[in-house]
Amino acid sequence: MTLERARKLAEALDSRTDRELTEARLDPPHKVLSQIRAYLLRRSEEMKTRNNLIQLLRFHPAGEFAQIDLGPSIDKGATPQHFHSDSGARLSFGLTLREVERGSQVVAYRYQFVFPDGQSPQYLRFDLNEAPHADPLAEPRCHLHPGIDEVRIPFSVHNPIEILDRIFFVLEKAT
């Protein structure tokens, strides 16, 4: 009975996530790319770190979709393609947008922040899946991995810049 209730609540949460995503409008993909690049440039300057944003951020428009990537699709250790903080932390992400009239919608994202060596948890990953999972309790559509791939904690939908705010103004401060 308790498990059934938990699943219903998880389904309701996924429905709210779906509504929020449908209603939210971002600028067209190339403008979102420009905004993210400018945002990361500011953070890099504040940290006095050298991150070549024009090289790190990769943009791939494909029909009505656009992919914005920073760093590898799968984090298997530090690479020159990551965004590096002065603390020793690193960031990679992938963001998929769908172009709609006068703007775009978020389809999916993955933001992985890896803390400096020796910190626990080792990483946090913010994921937004493209569609609900059959078991929304185990895998909410928008979730956070607390350093464990198999654990997914529900997380509210954030726009691409808001997630970066959490990463730089919250997580980075804890390094």
């Binding site: 420009s34 791939h60 656009a66 493209e130």
Partner: protein, 195 residues
């Protein structure tokens, strides 16, 4: 025409950001798709400078209209577009009103290739505002190359242990997970239609 360096709009906006207010520079518009390029320049200016940007067409603006437009407001980023090119008389009259062009916010002259000679010959004072800061509009080097796309596809295939064709087959059968890595995979394969 002298050689000018090619710079992406991101770098051009960065130059203005570093120089601070009252900065001037000129950009030679690309021959093809100038309207889209102008839109991209505006986007980068807004993102990097964190202030609004406007385009003012020089050809059809009277002295009074231009002065008013430049000073109301006077702190946003303004792109003065010469359109398909200005006549010598227009450059002369702009040069005479040079002091009225000075403002707090940055100014970008958006020129057609033929404008540079006329700017130098008939608007020497405006030319001096710009100095050596004339650039050719360059492509955005943030666009993923084919080699980079292939590298990412290989990385995904190796990590998950099946090919892109198999990913497409699973997506068609509604068996591909909905996680962001698989979404990226389909988009990079040009199969966003399966989402």
């Amino acid at each position: 025409m002298p050689e000018f360096s090619t710079e992406p709009f991101f770098d051009i906006a960065r130059r203005l950001d570093i120089r601070g207010e009252t900065a001037w520079l000129a950009v030679l518009s690309p021959a093809a798709d100038s309207t889209a390029a102008l839109d991209q320049l505006q986007t980068e200016l807004q993102s990097i400078l964190q202030r609004p940007s406007r385009v003012i067409q020089l050809e059809h603006s009277t002295f009074e209209e231009l002065r008013e437009a430049l000073h109301q407001p006077d702190d946003d980023a303004v792109i003065l577009s010469s359109g398909t090119g200005l006549k010598q008389e227009k450059w002369r009259s702009l040069d005479i009103m040079r002091s009225a062009l000075e403002r707090k916010g940055p100014v970008i002259l958006w020129l057609s290739p033929g404008d540079v000679a006329n700017l130098t010959g008939y608007a020497p004072n405006i030319r001096s505002f710009i100095g050596a800061s004339i650039f050719l509009a360059g492509p955005d080097s943030g666009i993923m190359t084919d080699a980079e796309r292939q590298e990412r596809l290989n990385e995904l295939s190796q990590h998950f242990g099946f090919t892109g064709d198999e990913a497409v087959r699973r997506a068609e059968a509604r068996e591909l997970p909905h996680e962001p890595e698989f979404v990226e995979w389909l988009v990079l394969l040009g199969r966003g239609d399966l989402l």
